[in-house]
């Protein structure tokens, strides 16, 4: 065990290196680019024994990784934002063929407007593509969750790819001190790659992904649903095993001071660190607030959410993606569905878009609103938190009419 200073991207690279990926196909996109760079460095120096395929697009990046893994090796790629959107149809090929690739996604908004910065809109747009989704609070979690994602994804009852989502810049470019275990410990934890489902092998041929009729398509989708259902238990088991081996405790949903809380805020990703800080601050003032950190968004841990939130009368759900046209953001929708039989008031907050910081002040404002609502002092909430008053008048353009 050693301590190392690294940013989220390098932690992701370190984890993929320690998983001994044998094929890397990567295409640069801000803020993921130094994952592609660092992996190429490692391959060039021989520190990572892998084939590096310098692909010409994200679409090809995931195509290469998917067929490489079908041909029998652990394959790696990573992306962000529009790159993830370009992968969209290949995501379905990976998950539908049950190829357990683990892919870091460095969260960044999808254009338009062009943004380079963090929000979860990119990953949320892919939430129904049959991939597991893990969300990281800090750089240590990036490293740890990638290792756990390999073990869960490759489990024979899961065989489902996983995105490990890390907030663009807030984590990808934030240097933090993390614990890096010995290679031997990682080897013992995840082991070498074995094709457990279908594979491409001239010694044992089969044809993968031919046309499927309506008499079987439903069943194959059901298999994926069952795999996701299985994944909840498998991830929890993997987290327990991880704690035994590496000493760090994880949960699919972490309840932070939620036991006796009057109000709880549900959130994902790096803002949970800020959220915990605000919880502590408000607790000192006697305000009984708590935070529920959703580490695994796909499969959605509904039961765990109910366990943590039941008894809380007023719940806020923070969506770091706009959920345009929906009744609220995707996290809120899921929480509402999980809590449908439990009497409570669930409010949706949208913010932190396109790189805007989710500040302690904003979180404090949310908690105060939730407390007032729970005490009957307030009816409405500020659904778009931290929205400028002149939102509709950002630009005025002179036109030739």
């Amino acid at each position: 065990m050693t301590y190392k200073m690294m940013d989220g991207n390098l932690a992701a690279v370190e984890a993929m290196k320690m998983a001994k990926v044998q094929v890397v196909s990567a295409y640069p996109i801000t803020p993921q680019s130094n994952i592609a760079e660092k992996l190429s460095d490692l391959v060039a120096s021989g520190e990572l024994k892998a084939e590096y395929i310098r692909v010409e697009s994200e679409h090809s990046a995931l195509s290469v990784a998917t067929t490489a893994q079908l041909a029998g090796v652990r394959a790696a790629t990573a992306t962000a934002s529009n790159g993830l959107a370009l992968m969209h149809e290949v995501l379905g090929m990976t998950s539908g063929n049950r190829v357990p690739i683990v892919m870091p996604v460095v969260n960044r908004g999808v254009a338009a407007p062009w943004t380079l910065w963090c929000e979860h809109g990119d990953a949320m747009a892919e939430r129904d593509m049959g991939w597991m989704q893990f969300y990281c609070e800090n750089v240590q979690e990036v490293f740890d969750l990638i290792l756990m994602a390999y073990k869960a994804a490759e489990d024979k009852d899961v065989l489902t790819p996983a995105m490990v989502c890390l907030d663009g810049f807030f984590l990808s470019h934030s240097m933090q001190k993390i614990v890096v275990p010995k290679q031997e410990l990682v080897d013992n934890f995840i082991g070498g790659y074995k094709s457990q489902n279908t594979y491409l092998d001239t010694e044992d041929p089969m044809f993968i992904c031919d046309l499927t009729g309506s008499e079987e398509y439903t069943e194959m989708k059901y298999q994926q649903k069952v795999a996701m259902d299985n994944a909840i238990g498998v991830i929890e088991q993997v987290q327990r095993e991880f704690e035994e081996r590496f000493g760090r405790k994880y949960s699919i949903v972490e309840g932070y001071r939620t036991e006796d809380a009057d109000v709880v805020l549900v959130a994902l990703g790096s803002m949970c660190g800020t959220g915990k800080h605000v919880v502590n601050k408000l607790r000192e003032k006697g305000k009984k607030v708590g935070l529920a950190k959703v580490t695994v968004f796909r499969p959605f841990p509904a039961e765990k959410i109910r366990e943590i939130l039941s008894g809380t009368r007023c719940i806020g759900v923070f969506d770091r993606s706009a959920g345009i046209g929906g009744q609220g953001g995707p996290v809120w929708s899921e929480v509402c569905a999980a809590m449908k039989d439990i009497s409570c008031d669930i409010r949706n907050y949208t913010g932190g878009l396109g790189g805007r910081d989710v500040s302690p002040d904003n979180i404090e404002k949310i908690f105060d609103e939730l407390l007032e609502i729970s005490q009957g002092k307030r009816k409405n909430h500020t659904a778009w938190i931290d929205l400028k008053e002149n939102a509709m008048d950002i630009r005025q353009v002179i036109k030739n009419v």
Partner: protein, 102 residues
Amino acid sequence: MTVMQKQQEKHTPKPQKFRVYGPVATVYGSSNTGSWRILCPKVDYEACIKCGTCARSCPANIIDIIKEQSECVVIDFDYCKGCGICANECPVKCISMVVERG
């Protein structure tokens, strides 16, 4: 060492059934494409020069030339779609396409 011992030592993986998920085809099958046929190739064996052009030109690869046999062009009608390429390509025009059914 007996022959049996030697055979046991030579490792050959045994085919076993496994459950797999997702779309995969493991049956090497064949459609009954012979049922598509409207025109049927008919060979004038007297005229045939046994050159094999028809066999090489057949998209389904179902024509055999058996030189020692009097009916030297053997077509597998389970699969012949009746496309007529064999008849068209025959250098001595010894294959004609006749109506299979009314």
